[in-house]
């Protein structure tokens, strides 16, 4: 990221030469090589989605969709995979929260990003376990090199939810202390009940408050950075999703929409989630010689997740889940340039985690306390030719997972009528060897080909191994399996790109085979409880396949008029049972027509009409879900923006209307589609001031 090279040029001793002391060369390069198939969202694209959650920001990339839990929780889905099957790097440190839950959104503030890069390959070799579906990098702006102070202020208002967000960033470099630079940033968001086309969704407000600070120092041969960020959110969970037994859920589906009516409010009450995520990072980069450099990144994260539910008596003030996950990460990478065509990188990554249930919830723990240690060694070699680039990597990982917990035994009670608890847990060890092979070839001036074959893995998560309890809101009882094996994913992705002045095309095609794919399915048994009967879902393993294509193109019809299209399709199957897998995104196309123009002192002005089509998911197993997938839908949007620049100062405006015709629709990838429609019309105004 920091691509500033200090170069000392000693000019030859000739009469007219000038001796240069130090020249800083600043540029932005991709964090990944050409052999990785990736897409980058740059600042200008991010400006149009400022204030949205990470998942919503990323879905403008073909092949990325969103797994939503109501209106307040969104997780990115890459090629049909999500949660612990994708890896998110937050400023170079792998994000470690309670990612196993479909209703646990990434604890990250997208406002901090200057760029986001998505790698679609299964690149576990360099980044470690869990990058089975892909990798998301959230990249803040580089620390400045030139002395002075700069910054930006974003202000966003949206009609739906009457939300208000603001973000401010200030950075600078010190003239008195050459080499030192700093950045501070903060954001705040307040939103109330979201409205569908016809009705408000009760308890869908949120508050978010995030901030970060960075301090850096660079010299000719070294660079150091210290970074700290805090993410905190308090978000409401839709009242209407509060359902107990299958009878409740069936009744809710039959009603088609919530029978209870709510008005607008900013208040957030139980059921709700309160999450606090700290990240501290220290990074050091050394140029050991002209052709050898070393980078060390240490990160510490503390994730505190508290979930509050409807409870008996006065217990709603107590969290029903209270988890603290501390994660230490250490990455060491040594890079060597053996000659002009041959690079080699090797390194070590370790992750140490301690997860604890905070006592006092007066509720059964869903996952146990655990310690986990992961260590991995990798080697990546790259050969570069005039037209081609080849990369090969190999990695070995070891993971130790040690869990312990107590849980209520539902099916037995002592003679006095009280409850009995059992101790559970145990130690597991996982060994994995992964590898990757990538190639990139420039066919001609406009055409490029890339291919990437990679093996990635992940160990089963604590809930997959040990959960044994009611999944609130889902009306089902989940039972883990302590003997699950690691998942191993083999992904082959190929990309062809064409780039000319008038037309750019990118087509990615992929095939993935996942060995020991972990999923839940009904166990054809029920748990009888004092509140009703719940179906039991058990974690199992199968072999699964994922295949699909992503297509994106931009065609400049006229100098000021362009047409853009993004399309994606994924096919996923449980190979052992020869059945479709649930919660796989249906086929979708997004297209837009854009008018670019300059008007007097205004630059980068545009007007864009967008249309999105999402097909009905027809590839599902009848009887495996509460109801059939919802019908296909079309959504339209309108967006306009402009920039006014005077000197170093810049004022930008973006205004947009999503769901222009206020259509009532349901999205298959929204877990609350059973109970409610999706979000209605939303008018947003985004202002940015840079100086």
């Amino acid at each position: 990221m920091l691509c500033c090279c200090g170069i000392i040029l000693s000019a030859q001793e000739q009469p007219d030469t000038i001796k240069l002391q130090e020249v800083g060369i600043k540029g932005k390069r991709s964090l990944v090589g050409h052999t990785s198939i990736s897409t980058t969202l740059h600042q200008r694209q991010l400006e149009t989605t400022r204030g949205s959650a990470l998942g919503e920001v990323l879905k403008s990339i073909a092949g990325v969709s969103v797994l939503k839990t109501g209106a307040t929780i969104a997780k990115p889905v890459i090629h049909g995979l999500h949660s612990n099957r994708i890896l998110i790097l937050n400023n170079g440190v792998r994000l470690e929260g309670q990612a196993w839950g479909a209703e646990h959104a990434p604890e990250i503030d997208p406002m901090i990003a200057e760029r986001m890069q998505l790698i679609k390959g299964a690149e576990s070799v360099r980044y470690g376990a869990e990058a089975i579906g892909g990798l998301v990098m959230v990249i803040p702006p580089d620390l400045p090199v030139e002395p002075g102070i700069g910054g930006s202020i974003h202000t966003i208002g949206s009609s739906n939810g009457r939300s208000f967000s603001t973000s401010a960033m200030l950075n600078g470099a010190l003239r008195s202390l050459p080499g030192f630079s700093w950045r501070v940033q903060g954001s705040y968001k307040k939103a109330g009940n979201i409205k569908t086309a016809d009705y408000y969704l009760g308890n869908t407000g949120l508050r978010e408050f995030n901030y970060s600070a960075a301090l850096g120092y660079i010299s000719a041969k070294a660079g150091y950075e210290v970074y700290y960020s805090q993410f905190s959110t308090n978000l409401g969970i839709l009242y209407s999703a509060h359902a107990g037994t299958l009878e409740d859920i069936a009744a809710r589906i039959a009603a088609g929409r919530p029978v209870e009516n709510y008005d607008f409010t900013y208040a957030v009450t139980a059921p709700r989630q309160r999450i606090l995520h700290h990240l501290a990072k220290v990074k050091a980069h050394y140029d050991l010689s002209d052709h050898q450099s070393m980078e060390v990144i240490y990160g510490f994260q503390r994730n505190h997740r508290r979930e509050f539910d409807f409870r008996r008596g006065d217990r709603e003030a107590l969290p029903i889940t209270d988890l603290v996950l501390n994660t230490h990460t250490l990455n060491l990478e040594l890079k060597q340039q053996r000659d002009s065509n041959f690079n080699i990188a090797y390194g070590f990554n370790s992750v140490v985690q301690v997860n604890n249930n905070v006592p006092g919830t007066l509720a059964n723990t869903f996952i146990p306390n655990y310690d986990s240690f992961t260590g991995g060694l990798f080697l990546v070699q790259k050969w570069t030719g005039k037209l081609w680039e080849l990369e090969a990597g190999l990695r070995y990982d070891f993971k130790l997972f040690d869990a312990a917990g107590y849980r209520y035994q539902y099916n037995s009670s002592d003679t006095s009528g009280g409850i009995t608890e059992e101790y559970y847990g145990g130690q597991r060890q996982f060994h994995n060897v992964t590898g990757s092979l990538g190639a990139h070839y420039k066919l001609s001036a406009g055409w490029q080909l890339a291919s990437n074959l990679a093996l990635a893995w992940r160990a089963p998560t604590a809930n997959e191994l040990f959960s044994n309890g009611l999944h609130h809101g889902a009306g089902l009882y989940e039972v883990g399996d302590p003997n699950l094996k690691s998942e191993q994913g083999y992904k082959w992705i190929n990309s062809i790109k064409y780039l000319s002045g008038q037309l750019s095309i990118e087509l990615d095609a992929y095939a993935q085979y996942i060995d020991n794919y972990i999923y839940t399915r009904p166990g054809l048994s029920y748990r009888q409880a004092v509140g009703g009967t719940y179906p039991i879902f058990r974690y199992q393993q199968t072999n699964a396949s994922f295949m699909g294509i992503d297509f994106s193109a931009v065609y400049r019809v006229l100098a000021f008029l362009s047409y853009r299209i993004n399309a994606a399709a994924v096919r996923a199957k449980d190979l052992n049972a020869d059945q479709y897998l649930p919660y796989i995104p249906s086929d979708r196309i997004d297209q837009s027509l854009r008018l670019d123009f300059n008007f007097r002192a205004l630059s980068e002005s545009y007007l864009q009409l967008g249309h999105g089509y999402v097909a009905r998911q027809t590839r599902y197993e009848p009887g495996s879900d509460y109801t059939e997938p919802p019908p296909a839908y079309h959504l339209f949007s309108l967006m306009a923006g402009s920039t006014y620049q005077t000197g170093r100062q810049q004022l930008g405006i973006n205004a947009g209307v999503d769901n222009l015709f206020n259509k009532g629709y349901r999205e298959y990838m929204n877990r609350y589609r059973y109970y409610t429609h999706d979000i209605g019309r939303n008018i947003s105004l985004r202002l940015v001031y840079k100086f």
Binding site: D248, G313, R315, V354, T365, Y406, S413, G417, V530
Partner: protein, 212 residues
């Protein structure tokens, strides 16, 4: 390469320190006080006396009394088959116990704005139920911890009687009246989840009863 050796040593020290730093706290057994342990329903025969537009209910000395105890899974004793008599009125009382065997039915009354019981399963015209709960100010409330069940008609065969105590979503209770006591569409109309769902075989019989 001296530098590299030094840096590597520092990193190794850090790794070792981190590894030994990792130590989960021993898990503490968490008593799941959320759980409702057991429950019982008690029928005590009373005299119903018409008093204008409402009824008064008077105790009967030596009247029938019956308690059905449900276990932690919400199940009655095997083979439970209850006879109630046509023309008779019964005070129906709920007793719910928490994980430690402590009575908790008062909690439902304290939060009467989100709780209401529904009595289901009887054919139309067989039973009449009147809520008889009071709040702390002694005002009438409809919860169903206490109520009066009158057998209007006998049936040829028994049926599965269902006592559902609903934990309602915010604002839902305002739309429920006493007349909804046997609303079969309660799950669709009154959103929430069930705190209790108690079932047993009930057979309203003629006044002099019958033998099976």
């Amino acid at each position: 390469m001296n530098k590299l050796r030094n840096y590597s040593l520092a990193i190794l020290v850090a790794i070792v320190a981190l590894t030994f730093n990792a130590c989960k706290k021993d898990p503490a057994p968490e008593l799941p006080e959320e759980e409702i342990g057991k429950a019982s329903l008690t029928f005590v025969e009373v005299e119903r006396e018409a008093h204008g537009d409402h009824f008064h209910y008077n105790p009967i000395v030596g009247g029938d009394s019956l308690t059905i105890a449900f276990d932690g899974n919400g199940l009655p004793p095997a083979g439970t088959h209850v006879h109630l008599h046509e023309g008779a009125t019964y005070k129906l009382s709920l007793k719910a116990l928490d994980f430690a065997g402590r009575e908790i039915q008062q909690e439902f009354l304290d939060k009467h704005d989100i709780h209401q019981a529904f009595l289901l399963g009887a054919p139309d015209g067989v039973l009449t139920y009147a809520y008889a709960d009071r709040d702390k100010e002694n005002k009438k409330i409809n919860v169903g911890v206490k109520g009066y069940l009158t057998v209007d008609e006998h049936t040829d065969n028994g049926f599965t009687f269902r006592y559902v105590l609903r934990h309602l979503n915010p604002g839902v209770k305002a739309g429920i009246t006493a007349e909804n006591w046997n609303d079969v569409n309660f799950a669709a109309k009154f959103a929430g989840a069930n705190d209790l769902d108690l079932k047993f075989d009930l057979h309203p019989v003629e006044e002099d009863g019958h033998g099976h």
